[in-house]
Assembly symmetry: C2
Homo-oligomer: 336 residues x 2
DNA sequence: TTGCAATGTCGAACCGGTTCGATTACCGTG
DNA sequence: CACGGTAATCGAACCGGTTCGACATTGCAA
């Protein structure tokens, strides 16, 4: 491969002149610049990333730490990964994707060796072990998901509390008095997925305030358990007139169950959920729902990170941003 | 961050001695090694990746080129990405994941700048525009998916022809004479997904040899089109006694359709498919099927690539490996 | 006519590792 | 006691970029 020295020789100038022609940090005469450019074209020169990183202390790479848990639908993570990758590329960064089980260790490895200029942490748990190492890393980071202590961190998450209140309000306004609430699997809460109880607690509290009766459950994550659980729950709560579903597997598995039981939505039962638009389209879910907007979250995290990588300490105070839930009415609720 | 020079100073030795203590390429006295190691621990030294890459011309990073097409279920790609990432890490490599639309351009960018030691191309099409740039790259690559010209490349794919023959043979052996065949969406074939016609042609040819009647269709990729198409197809072919489904969306959407029509499997209809084990478990598909084994393919590609990166030209002749289809009998077929 | 600033280019140092050849000390051997 | 061999370490060069300070040339104003 051609080096900057080869280009310099071919153009009859010094290495530094080629560098300045490339970066534009000093003025170069038009004639010299043209000689350099044609030499670059002829030799097919592309700067060596390692050498550049060494000289500038910048890699133009973002580390993406993905974390998978048992009983989560792992392909769904792609909904976050793709927008993040796209947004990073638009800002001139590549993505080093790390899926190691030992997240803190992986984080330390890539930051200590200066492989990346910054980090995005996905699926952040309440007591996420990656947050400590992130704080002591040289590189800035942005989180998707809410940790217990957000001090000094840029954090992005959906406002799950507000989402729950919106759904309860919606059903209350229609006159529903008994509601079934299905949360993610219990495994998710034990490993510290705070969004589970942020949503659940807010729903329970709001329902209590209205004097509504609400029946909370933790849902299954796989067929055929999903269908079986739905039948059990619906049998156990024959007087409930609405369900709120915060669980991808449970809501994807709902239509055939209702179909088999002869339950018509919204005539016999009002159904609301919380899931991403893409997910809903894939499974053709005809339910009124809050969008989880993984694309917005991913892009926001990258933007904040890029800002912070560019401006360093001058990038201003850290931001904890809860993106506002949006309700899409697909007509799956009715008055009672 | 501490450099190797800081460590050397703290341990009272030269930089090269520290380097040799780290790599073990020359003998170092126990006493000196211990001084160096404790200096490393105290200073928290980790070698700088850029400097090391510059000195050794090795990045210990694998580029993963992911390609998404309209009308493919993109999260499904995660089934390939995860095993590849895991296998790479086990071999000591990190993954630079590139999802750029312009694949050839991205490939050229990361290879010319020496950001990676090797490449894995996912979802390779018959006339994949990335294969040319890959051939002229310095770094070796491994493909998942079969291109027209495999010369000089390590290629891994499922043996779709054999898979189709196994399924036709299976149905023929049970006495079926009229079979519906559902392929992936037509968009996939137009952009050059060779596995579509490799499977389809083999099935048609095998059926013709047995004198079976086979009705081929290209399937939809989203609800509610999927359900609608199933109803149309089943209405149009009332005498068919079996279906072969090579389309994730269509087979995931099949159970509710059959349920609604009162069709019982395998009493009224024999069903076979081709999909990954994970996919089948997620949707609880009770169908006899060929495994597409994305994990095996991904890991095989990484293994071959690692071998070639280590041994360079001495790694032997390129390999085109079709992994053997395995049929899992879930009891969704019966004699006719 | 001299002085000064702006323009364009060069050489050298530096980023943080690895590796080659040379050097020193010490050992056993003839 | 000189000699060769081995173990342990050092210094310098190198990988391929970037950047700082210096320098030569030119144009313009005083």
């Amino acid at each position: 491969m051609a080096t900057i020295g080869d280009v310099a020789k071919a153009a009859g100038v010094s290495r530094s002149t080629v560098s300045y022609a490339l970066s534009g940090k000093r003025t170069i005469s038009d004639e010299t610049r043209e000689r350099i450019e044609s030499a670059i074209r002829e030799l097919g020169f592309t700067p060596n990333a390692g050498a550049r990183a060494l000289a500038t202390s910048q890699t133009r790479v973002i580390g993406l730490l993905v974390q998978f848990f048992r009983d989560e639908f792992s392909p769904a993570m792609m909904q976050y990964v793709l927008p993040i990758s796209d947004a990073a590329r638009e800002a001139g960064y590549d993505i080093l994707m790390v899926t190691e089980d030992d997240g803190p260790h992986a984080l330390k490895r890539i930051t200590d060796s200066d492989m990346v200029d910054g980090l995005v942490l996905l699926n952040v748990a309440h007591d996420d072990p990656r947050v400590g190492p992130l704080r002591s890393a040289r590189q800035p980071g942005a989180l998707v998901g809410l940790p217990r202590d957000t001090d000094g961190l840029d954090v992005f998450d959906l406002d799950f509390g507000e989402a729950a209140r919106m759904l309860v309000d919606h059903l209350q306004g229609l006159g529903h008095r008994e509601i079934i609430l299905v949360s993610p699997n219990e495994h998710v809460i034990t490993r510290g997925g705070a969004y589970v109880w942020r949503f659940r607690d807010a729903a329970l509290e709001r329902a209590a305030r209205y004097g509504l009766r609400i029946y909370p459950y933790y849902g299954e994550t796989q067929q055929p358990d999903v269908a079986e659980q739905w039948n059990q729950v619906l049998d156990a709560r024959p007087t409930a007139t609405a369900v709120i579903v915060h669980n991808d597997a449970m809501i994807a598995g709902l239509p055939p169950v209702l179909n088999a039981r002869g339950v018509e939505v919204p005539r016999d039962l009002s159904v609301v959920g919380i899931f991403s638009e893409d997910f809903g389209r894939l499974f053709s879910l005809p339910y009124t729902a809050i969008e989880t907007s993984p694309d917005k979250l991913g892009r926001a995290a990258v933007q904040a990170l890029v800002h912070r990588m560019r401006d360093g300490e001058g990038a201003g105070a850290p931001v904890v941003r809860f993106i506002a839930p949006e309700l899409t009415d697909r007509g799956s609720t009715s008055t009672r």
